[in-house]
Amino acid sequence: MKQITVLTRKSTDELSRVVGILADAGINIEEIDAERVEETGVIVLSVDKYDEALRVLSSHGLRAITQNALVIRMEDKPGALAAVSKRLQNAGVEMRSMHILRRDAGHSLVSLVVTDHVQAAAVLADIVVAS
């Protein structure tokens, strides 16, 4: 089952907004989970029409992250991303890219693309938000 992670601003309306957008596009949600990370809402969902869902969410200005990326939360301090990359390297996982998605309240949400998704999620279990 394919998974999408959607980042939203912290608001009670955002979950219903995401659900509404997908429903209007005729996309069925098979699983949904939502949590708050400081100022950010993180919605993890599985849908029946994966590519279409990505397109429609993006066209509504929502940050939708595909399932080949891990989302991690970490302290916003110099070299923090490099330290994560080093942890992966020490565990034999090759890192392809690290992108800062959002920074607020002293923390960063970061998307991570690696060669071995499962192992990376295990290595970074303490900071993974969505995998």
Binding site: L81, A82, A83, K86, M95, R96, S97, M98
Partner: protein, 373 residues
């Protein structure tokens, strides 16, 4: 067969649309004041600059001579090392960035690219396309690289050759990363192998013509640069310049010899008309003409900041060398009238010709009248 009346009418509508929209397009870095009519006669030929402009081509309907002169002019503006530069006219800034990152990756296959949060989104696409490892570095509030984050990242990854993607004028805030600071950091950390590519899309044609440009070009440590041709100079077709140190280009040309050509340009067929237009622009303006465009644009940027601030709108620009005036995202009604590219909570105008004080005043009035009290 001539166009059918309906088709002709569609073209007429499109032309009218462009005429109407042009004065409202204030958020994108395009000088729209140009006249290339002397070159229109060349549009009757199927011209193509395929291959390396410095190596000749069997396809004789090319403008390689003109392209070489254009590249030489940009090499002079960017203080490329005498006798050790190479370049070509690209189809825009992105291709120049792709070329620089390609050279860097070929020289340092195990390298890691570092780029700031404020870097143009196309760079992430290039890195994915080239399958190059990358880590995003935080940006400071003003849009520059966060040097503390970069230093710590370099320190932790000391074993990996760093490829630094520096912005010489970020897209949204016009921020210029300080190449001298980056070079000093690399020296201080005793990193033997490194590469700096500088994306100077807009500012690359501003900084050669100001009194205090700061460290930004080859003389300050760049190994390759990308500059847009259609931005400050103005050109109806997107174009740009890729420049790199020749010794590096020669090394990668040897590496790719197996494909049967030493040519390292990215595209096969290449536009032969844009080099002609850039050549025409450089010849008709001369350095003094470009300096005058830069002076007028910077002066207008200062005027726009002053007017916006006087209207209680928090406007600013990176420094006195920036034509990018940043301010809080305008209300939707203002966005509907003016062509502006916002990002999250901010937006900007770019004060290139034909924008003038009258246009700025009208925009400031619209902002003022539509802001919530």
């Amino acid at each position: 067969m001539p166009l059918a009346a309906d088709d002709q009418s569609r073209l007429d509508d499109l032309f009218t649309h462009f005429k109407e929209q042009r004065p409202r397009s204030i958020g994108y870095p395009c000088n729209q004041e140009f006249d290339y009519h002397e070159l229109f006669r060349f549009l009757e030929f199927s011209i193509n600059n395929v291959g390396d402009p410095f190596s000749g081509s069997n396809y004789r309907l090319n403008t390689h001579d003109f392209e070489r002169e254009v590249v030489a002019a940009f090499a002079r503006y960017t203080q490329a090392p005498e006798g050790d530069w190479w370049g070509y006219v690209t189809n825009g800034g992105t291709e120049g960035n792709m070329y620089g990152l390609y050279v860097a990756r070929e020289l340092h296959p195990q390298g890691m690219v570092y780029f700031s949060e404020d870097t143009h989104y196309s760079v992430a696409k290039i890195l994915r396309l080239q399958h190059t490892r990358s880590i995003m570095i935080k940006s400071q509030e003003n849009g520059q690289l966060d040097y503390d984050d970069l230093r710590e990242t370099l320190r932790i990854h000391r074993d990996v050759p760093p490829i630094i993607f520096a912005n010489i004028g970020t897209t949204m805030k016009g921020a210029v990363d300080d190449l001298a600071v980056i070079r000093a950091m690399l020296d201080d950390l005793a990193i033997a192998e490194s590469y700096i590519h500088a994306d100077a899309a807009l500012s690359g044609m501003i900084l050669p013509f100001v009194e205090k440009p700061g460290p930004w070009c080859f003389a300050d440590g760049a190994d390759s640069m990308s500059i847009s041709g259609h931005k400050l100079l103005g050109c109806p077709l997107p174009c740009g310049i890729a420049l790199a140190k020749k010794r590096n280009v020669d090394r990668i040309a040897r590496n790719v010899e197996y494909v049967g050509a030493l040519d390292t340009t990215i595209s096969g067929s290449r536009n032969a008309f844009t080099p002609l237009m850039l050549w025409h622009r450089l010849r008709t303006l001369g350095d003094d003409g470009i300096r005058d465009i830069v002076r007028r644009s910077l002066s207008l940027a200062a005027y726009a900041v002053e007017k916006l601030q006087a209207a209680d709108i928090q406007a600013w620009r990176h420094d006195e060398n920036s034509v990018t005036v940043t301010f809080p995202r305008p209300p939707d009604i203002v966005m509907k009238k003016w062509i502006i590219a916002p990002k999250k909570k901010i937006a900007h105008i770019i004060t290139l010709p034909p924008m003038n004080e009258v246009v700025v005043d009208e925009f400031v009035n619209d902002m003022k009248n539509n802001l919530k009290p």
